[in-house]
Symmetry: C2
Subunit: 443 residues, 2 copies
């Protein structure tokens, strides 16, 4: 058995609460929902992502003997609880919005229905997985809306927060509409298209910039994108023009150049002119360096002749807003609806569904959050994806996920597509308001 299942990637209190539920004989069915409480200023919508990894986690949930031995060694848990953990698997149901769905605060994107020990234990890692990919897909979607005609490639692994962040940021940004990533593991693991150019070190290691270009072109004849800002951007562009005929004679086409520093719009204009004068009309210009949707909007507004962007740090860390105010909260236990009323953090009780309404052109009009038991005429956004711990369908293909995400972005109201401060109407249904009032009276 694998010495590490990943189940210890959790908060200590999940395990101490399991001891509490166990000792109190509490093993009824619990319903938890994951949702975002509120958007921070400047953001108008979110894009759901991370469901695939969340379901994988639930399917594989178990404690290995090494993990149980270690837990026993902490003397925090009773032998009876440890025996129960040894048998514990996830046997519950999951409802969720498909990845790529646009959603808003107060709308659950995932619901877990399971014996309370199972539903409680998975809280930390479920949040960890859903929060991060949703954060990045939402940020990347803004970039896609800003530059829909451009090649957008994730370059962010180095400054992503660790290994998994880099890998899953590549996934979340591709899901949201990026063309690919530079992260090799994301190509191997997820089949995401890979892109790459060259680093300054490759140029610096040569005594001569032209020779560096030539070496690289011969080594990667199908992928010749030359980095031209190591010393003098325009001088390097002229070297590219000078080199082109010799490479063409060897059957090698210079696909593009990359600019990574300075005034990107200004350099791009000068470089475009140099390339055009040299007859390299179809050599594209690729730019990188602290880009996100705000910088891209300015570059495009300035008419910068840039064909593609390597987008890194600011998307892979969601640099301007690196977290979402999200939660996974108990909404029902033992058949009774529950809520907390902590100041500023009150929750809506019960098992919920979200219905979406569209106008005649198919654009989103408004959403209604209500109880599952209170069907409405709109399009329901949550669907069953796991029953009794087993998935109900194979994972959707990249084509399906990306088409769904793209379709959702297309259907956004125009002010949200333009990344305005517009707010979208999300209505809490009378049935849900009534249940909340009833729960409050009781408690």
């Amino acid at each position: 058995m694998n010495p590490a299942s990943g189940v210890l990637l959790t908060d200590l209190y999940q395990l101490t609460m399991l001891q509490g539920y166990h000792d109190a004989g509490m093993d009824d069915t619990a319903v938890f929902e994951f949702f975002v409480r509120r958007l921070r200023p400047g953001r108008g919508f979110l894009m759901a992502a991370g469901l695939e990894q969340a379901l994988e986690f639930l399917e594989q949930l178990c404690f290995t003997s090494a993990e149980l031995e270690w837990l026993a060694s902490t003397r925090r848990f009773s032998p009876a609880l440890l025996a129960a953990l040894e048998k514990l698997r996830f046997t519950g149901d999951v409802h969720a919005m498909p990845e790529g769905t646009v959603f808003f605060p107060d709308e659950p994107i995932l619901r877990v229905t399971a014996p309370i020990a199972e539903a409680q234990l998975v809280e930390t890692r479920l949040i960890n997985l859903l929060h991060f990919q949703t954060l990045i897909a939402s940020k990347a979607a803004r970039t896609v809306l800003t530059a829909p005609e451009k090649l957008l490639v994730d370059f962010g692994l180095r400054r992503a927060h660790g290994a998994e962040a880099g890998l899953l940021a590549a996934r979340a940004s591709y899901l949201a509409g990026f063309s690919g990533t530079s992260t090799v593991l994301a190509g191997q693991r997820f089949g995401i298209p890979l892109y790459g150019t060259m680093a300054h070190s490759f140029i610096q290691a040569h005594d001569d910039e032209s020779l560096a270009f030539e070496h690289f072109a011969h080594a990667q004849p199908d992928n010749v994108v030359l980095l031209i800002d190591t010393w003098d951007t325009e001088a390097a562009a002229r070297k590219v023009v000078a080199l082109a005929p010799r490479l063409a004679a060897a059957g090698i086409h210079i696909q593009g150049v990359r600019i990574d520093s300075g005034d990107l719009a200004g350099h791009a204009r000068q470089v475009r002119a140099i390339l055009d004068r040299g007859g390299l009309h179809d050599t594209v210009i690729f730019a990188s360096g602290d880009l996100d949707e705000t910088v891209l909007r300015d570059l495009l507004a300035a008419g910068a002749p840039i064909d593609g962007f390597g987008v890194g740090t600011k998307v892979d860390t969601s640099g301007d807003q690196p977290w979402l105010d999200c939660a996974y909260k108990l909404q029902e236990y033992a058949g009774r609806a529950r809520r907390k009323r902590s100041e500023g953090k009150a929750t809506w009780p019960g098992r919920k569904q979200v219905y979406r309404y569209f106008d005649a052109q198919g654009r989103m009009l408004r959403d209604v959050v209500t109880l599952e038991s209170d069907p409405q005429s709109g399009e329901p956004l949550l669907a069953p994806v796991m029953r009794g711990g087993k998935r109900l369908a194979i994972s959707p293909s990249w084509d399906e996920i990306r088409r769904h995400a793209s379709d959702n972005l297309t259907r956004l109201p125009e002010p949200l597509r333009r990344l305005g401060e517009a707010s979208y109407p999300v209505e809490i249904s009378p049935a849900l308001l009534a249940l909340a009032a009833q729960v409050d009276q009781h408690s």
Copy 2:
């Protein structure tokens, strides 16, 4: 052999450049250094972290047969390169600042000296590891300086950016002076002390708040910290007082209560009064909820009677500044110093050392960045840690690392200790300036 070595967690261009170096017959020794280019406004210093994981990564560097087969399947690389990769291990030298060392922009904290293919290939993951832990240790150190007398516990796993970010944020914050973490895996893997209370769901799952407290206390008699803000904070504090004698009769002491919402200072004052009136003078108050050094400073200035803090999202994401402007740059190849001069991103060439000067009281005065070949009278901060791919010493203990970090924070100039905008003098030596001028002339 392990099917995944982690080596594919890299940017595509590292591998395409390796093809370029290979085809051009370039296999001389390269020197790369990792450093931060500049601090963003509001930050005065950084704390080095991540070296342990960086060295582990270098020691284990290899391609598995599964990885090589996959690389071959992409048709991007020659059979000769793949054969070279099969044999590739890290055989170089590493110099570094010990973890917990305070440092500043332009000061390398790690230097790699190795055949260029090895030194190039490791760039992405080295940055990924050093950047993240340094980011978090630097943020956590600010929190420690703000509340040196308080219990500080990392609660951030759920909103950290993925699994590794959660695990390594626990490590980096403990390194910087936190008391522990709620992340169980960090306890198992790194021996970091674990802390935990209970979640709202535990309270909500009970029909009665007092009964929930009682169940938890009996299940975790040595760790009774009760969450009191689920419905009405002060009412819950009174329930804690009422419950105390019954628990005391069972030999159980209520160690603390936790407040997670609302006006933390106001609630803490009222709760303190309720507990004191009830004779629970040594039941401590623990607070959590979107805390960082700014919020802590305000709470302490307001005289809030809070004994400990659960610090989560804003430290584990370094929420106000979620990345550092850091780089890993070629400084020498084949015995010749190198630099790039890209606008705003120029680097200092050559193999460098950082010397630190202190005043009579042992407080830091100034640093000098110079060439390794230009020894100064100050304290050198970089030391050899790996030679020929082997570590020169066993990893320092937590005691050693934490004492070093604490000592470094103690020696900070007073304005930096107070987290002011103060800037610390970092001098570039005449020898280094001369080398840069000489490199520029040549290129």
